[in-house]
Symmetry: C2
Subunit: 169 residues, 2 copies
Amino acid sequence: MAKHNLDSLDRKILKLIAADARIPFLEVARACNVSGAAIHQRIAKLQGLGVLKGSQFIIDPEKIGYETCAYVLLYLKNPEDHDKVVEKLKKIPEVIECHATTGAMDLFIKMYARNNHNLMEIIHDRLQPLGLSRSETIISFSTDIDRQLPILDDFEEEDDDLDDDENED
Amino acid sequence: MAKHNLDSLDRKILKLIAADARIPFLEVARACNVSGAAIHQRIAKLQGLGVLKGSQFIIDPEKIGYETCAYVLLYLKNPEDHDKVVEKLKKIPEVIECHATTGAMDLFIKMYARNNHNLMEIIHDRLQPLGLSRSETIISFSTDIDRQLPILDDFEEEDDDLDDDENED
DNA sequence: AATGAAACATGCTCGGA
DNA sequence: TCCGAGCATGTTTCATT
């Protein structure tokens, strides 16, 4: 499975760079009491393992013209079109997440729109033609929490191997 | 209103740094045909305006021990406790998003857990005691899209009332 | 895997246009 | 607002342990 033994240095690095992608690696090095070259090598390793998947500046959606955030449950006329529909959703830039989930819906998406009117437009003009039997829209009035996952200090299977299957590579 | 007139240079900078927070500002400068100092000043301005809200490395949740992603609809016994519950949710690190939404639920959250068993534990031990009358859990089997919003090339106000004149695809 | 040093590149600041 | 220049700082590589 997707478990790698990250040691405490890896985790300390991750904690530091997760919160600020622009932090100088030398500053990370000083905080960890190792050389800059060591941080450089560790980060290259973490990228190679797929633990790190790039970096980004966080942009406030409202400030760039997206006032409406919504989740939409999609019910397909032909559920076998699942993959085809996902490909088409990728071409709609306002769709920023798409999940296959439990529940009666076939797909669950998160999207932004310029305003409520624009949201309706997108649902009607871009989503409906994908072959929906119906959809349900949940509009977010306010985002009260929006953050990253914390780095676990340890995640070897210990307390959950009693009741769950173990996953090994 | 949360609209600032970002010019084409601002947007070009945003497009470049949104996709890679570690890109050297001098490289951005070269791509934009301006000086490094100009990029430095623009980014400081964008931070001051609140358009830029920090930066982060993207970490694969699975690779750090979170195998389960779920959305949970929370129904409160006492809906007037809304704000108090949000404060308590902030203390649960696995909860990474919380929204007030349309629909019958009082709160809508996104969370990760080590596995399905751990998800149940968190819901039972940490969420239920917040004063829920009930909850509904949507587990994500797969995240097929997960990306940032694109920078619009133009979002000058069309007032929400004047919705007759907008672009149709 | 980590280190230190060296060569190179970038970040930041300020005076001036 | 932008530019250019100067200097402080960070990045990357490599021989070595």
